[in-house]
Symmetry: C2
Amino acid sequence: MDFTDYPSGAPGHVPGAPIRAGIPEHGRIPKYYAVKNQVAALLDELGEGGLLPTERELALRFTVARETVRQALRELLLEGRLRRAGRGTVVAGPKLEQPLALASYTEGVRRQGRRPGRTLVGLDRFPCPPALAPDVGVEPGAPVWHMERVLLADDERVGVESTYVAVARVPHLNTEFPPDSSFYGYLRDSLGIGFGDADERLETVLATPREALLIGTPPALPMLLIHRLSRDTEGRPLERVRSLYRGDRFSFTTHLGSKR
Amino acid sequence: MDFTDYPSGAPGHVPGAPIRAGIPEHGRIPKYYAVKNQVAALLDELGEGGLLPTERELALRFTVARETVRQALRELLLEGRLRRAGRGTVVAGPKLEQPLALASYTEGVRRQGRRPGRTLVGLDRFPCPPALAPDVGVEPGAPVWHMERVLLADDERVGVESTYVAVARVPHLNTEFPPDSSFYGYLRDSLGIGFGDADERLETVLATPREALLIGTPPALPMLLIHRLSRDTEGRPLERVRSLYRGDRFSFTTHLGSKR
């Protein structure tokens, strides 16, 4: 399945690309956007991993101000077309494609031939607030865990995940569970709790300064946020999860209808 | 199902909210972010539709520079917490929640008690490029339609949609189809073509200047982009669709697993 979104700077009419991209109805293209299209075309020539010329060189090449080049590069960085590498800027690879139907981040990353990983940021235990209680299947005030982990793919930080689960369900989370491994794997193998089903809501948000710092992204990078409420195989409430993925590195795939 | 993301400025520990939001590990909160949290708390007091004080008034109230207030308001606008109304800025309502499993935009918007609509931007007919041919089930060079429509909910512009379909499948699209109605409804009722299934990819992108103009959003607003490749009930390729939704107005819901 090829979902390639063609660079909007490519010549002629390309399917799937924004049509007449960047040409407002009154026919005027903002200068930075014209430069963005020119740089996008250059990225295709350079190929993945190729080193971009400096801002100064690009400003000379396109005879525009450095500030104009900077605005164009900023958008290409936010969109994941470029990435910083050491002191330079290189052409980024395609976004990861995570199947939404897969409950497990670990499994999704593996299927793409990448190595999944997780780094523990914090594990807290606190009395369950009333709003959270039905989601984790306890009475208000009963103890719940909050586990926060940075998500990795081949050691690259790609997201941050907050899991809320009742202490009664997972009493030894703080001592037994290796935080760099799959939580669903632990539930299944050590506690005999199977993931049953989940409701999710997906939206785009801006990273908070703290989240940007944790993930190592530019501030105000658009992120994909997934809220999940999951139940075990018996239909009992299991956990509430807030997963934030870098918008420049992740996409999600899904299938509608019964046939495949 | 309550997926409420609590305002990050709310006091205490709220489930689902970014934990210690905005507090980087070194403990320093950027000034604009502190103001953003203060304004977010104010939005809760004002309630949906409430009129926000002016930038000048907010700058005086929080004793910060107007530029600092402007940065905070810019993020709240991009996130859909605020919206422009005439010359003022008001508290926005919650994001629309569109079920991803629903093929039809029309049906999804109706279920939320809003009135769906569409405005035709353009309808072109062109020889099918090789890359598009398998997606619409024709030989390269055969004629295809490209239909571009702005998506409306209660007359509010919320997205823009590009549909590619073979002229051989829908010969009279330009004369028979009312462009403000449901395309799947037309296929079914007038041509006996049923929607079968589809593969989709969802990502976040920035609006191009032209798209921002069409939808009436600030430039560089984060958008949710859905690529769709769909087939009819017989499994034959039907259409390729590129749908762009305002990131500040839309979220998508989905269900994982077999139980509901």
